[in-house]
Symmetry: C2
Subunit: 193 residues, 2 copies
């Protein structure tokens, strides 16, 4: 029974994430969410007493846990920096369905209200990604400052490729970016670049 419930929760979070990814926070109405999850509004409020804001919070938390398990843990695995960077690039591809999906961190950073209720969680998630990525760059020989800049470049490349791919209706930019991730993170560079 507990196992079944757990699976249902997983599926629920998966569908909620899809709705917020597709339509953004304000664009995801309770009617849309109800249809996407198969739960009527009162059932949603039973599960999320604080309503839509809590739904988005828990989706963000759930996504953060996925990232910790499937992106950040591999970055600390006992493998060469390049191998870890390559595995990271692969996992990024499955997180965003090879560029077809948008990033929750991008979409949930836009709301009606002046101060975004999710800003803290979004900031925190980017920070964890940045720390783990820069550690790989350091393991590959980069000094701390360069390592942080490389991590930033990788995050920029991912977010930018997702925006551009959605903007032009083609995943080609995302797939090209994905191949570049290992070099951005661990390849040696010329001094003048």
């Amino acid at each position: 029974m507990a196992a079944t419930k757990k699976i249902e929760d997983e599926e629920l979070m998966r569908r909620l994430a899809l709705v917020f990814q597709s339509h953004g926070y304000e664009g995801a109405s309770l009617a849309t969410i109800s249809q996407a999850t198969g739960l009527k509004k009162p059932s949603l409020y039973h599960r999320f007493p604080r309503g839509k804001e809590q739904m988005a919070e828990e989706v963000l938390r759930h996504a953060g846990e996925w990232i910790d398990r499937n992106l950040l843990d591999p970055l600390r695995a006992p493998a060469s920096p390049r191998q870890r960077a390559e595995l990271f690039a692969t996992r990024i591809g499955s997180l965003y369905h090879r560029g077809k999906d948008s990033c929750l961190l991008n979409l949930l950073s836009v709301t009606k209200s002046e101060d975004n209720p999710f800003a803290g969680m979004i900031h925190e998630t980017f920070r964890r990604l940045s720390r783990s990525l820069s550690q790989v760059a350091r393991d590959a020989g980069a000094d701390p400052k360069d390592a942080r800049l490389r991590a930033e470049e990788v995050l920029i490349a991912i977010q930018g490729a997702l925006v551009l791919s959605r903007g032009i209706g083609s995943t080609a930019p995302f797939r090209r970016m994905q191949k570049k991730i290992p070099d951005l993170l661990v390849a040696s560079r010329r001094e003048d670049r």
Copy 2:
């Protein structure tokens, strides 16, 4: 009278753009828009008979014209490729207020409806940017294929830096990215990158 009207229209579009940039399409209610522009709802409908969708369309068109005049024309100016790339980087900074603003092309590509009403204009604007940027890369000696990839890299860097800067609440990533634009577009590269 005509001149005064023109200025008012400019200011109106400027404020509308700011609202959509800050809150996204669905997050920008007519109440918010009314407050931001100083026009009551019936006045807005007098100016935009098809309502909010037309407002966003005209804001996008207006932004596209700004881009043509202030970003793309300089890319074709009689100057060295590097000088043109540097001017472009400067103008990108003022377009996004040095990283404080978000990109309309990103925010307006998210709506409630399944097929985004602005997809065509967004796609078209990215296309014009890409064409003009790649021409600069070609003028700097890149072959057509490499030039297109460099233009794509620049667009990815801009969009990604804006997303990351908003996500972490700091314009530092945008400002660092801005300095890299000229090299991304026109610097020679090692073969193995």
